[in-house]
Symmetry: C2
Subunit: 158 residues, 2 copies
């Protein structure tokens, strides 16, 4: 099972920005993406999860740190047009990604990663997974320690 995980990567160049409580209607996300694309902002991650209120949604992006100002400006412009409640941003993030084939079929892997970081007092600000990659977002200052602990938990140095 430990050989399912093949490596850990760190990306400290991103920042996260979110636009909250937008109408959960067809075309809204397209409008937002087009506005960002028009400003030539390269989007790294896009996340839209379950919103507590039916009819509303929120979208979180990660962008390169050099694009944070433009991203906040673009989303803030849209905020009024869309009736969104707010635009949030946080530059203090690092993506720690665990890469491996067939991660998806193994419920225990995320449990190991999350508990390992939890026991070390490292807080996860965001989480995003796919079949090949589990990405946790922590504060920049926690990135190296998080990667080291995960390496150790999956015996990647042996």
């Amino acid at each position: 099972i430990v050989r399912t995980v093949s490596g850990v990567a760190i990306d400290k160049d991103q920042a996260r920005v979110a636009i909250l409580d937008i109408p959960d209607q067809p075309g809204v996300a397209g409008k937002i993406m087009q506005a960002l694309a028009d400003k030539h902002i390269v989007i790294d991650m896009i996340m839209q999860a379950f919103h507590p209120t039916s009819g509303l949604s929120s979208i979180t992006f990660t962008v390169h740190q050099s694009d944070v100002k433009d991203t906040i400006a673009t989303l803030s412009e849209l905020k009024d047009k869309l009736g969104a409640s707010e635009v949030l941003s946080d530059p203090d993030i690092a993506k720690v990604s665990i890469i491996g084939a067939g991660l998806a079929g193994q419920p225990g892997i995320a449990a190991i990663v999350f508990s390992t970081l939890g026991e070390a007092g490292i807080n996860m600000k965001m989480i995003s997974t796919s079949e090949m990659k589990l990405t946790v977002v922590v504060a920049k200052g926690d990135a190296e320690k998080a990667a080291k602990l995960i390496h150790k938990a999956f015996e990647l140095d042996t």
Copy 2:
């Protein structure tokens, strides 16, 4: 640019479940994952985005439809222990995934996908992206139409 996108896949076997307003503290996600792993529930996607309230977080999962009852039960048990506000579930989802190398560097691709669906009146319930895959979650009844429209938008049949 259109050759960056190589295929579209549909997965209609998932359901989504979320636990809302949990403490944004180290160890919390680990506790949740361990409880699910103990029940042998295979988790497909895990999403934790930007929460409007500092100190709180929400986590959304997709699980196989046959695991929805157990997932809701497990999360509901944890809900009181963690002080979470609610557990939400929605069985009417299909994952439509656009696969391609180097998706991440292309801001226009998500804009094309989201606008294409938006113009057809197809609502996106969730969105999750990585460098190699863009996954949108729509109602099961919209899946085939969404995949067809995306195929057409990226000229994948030509």
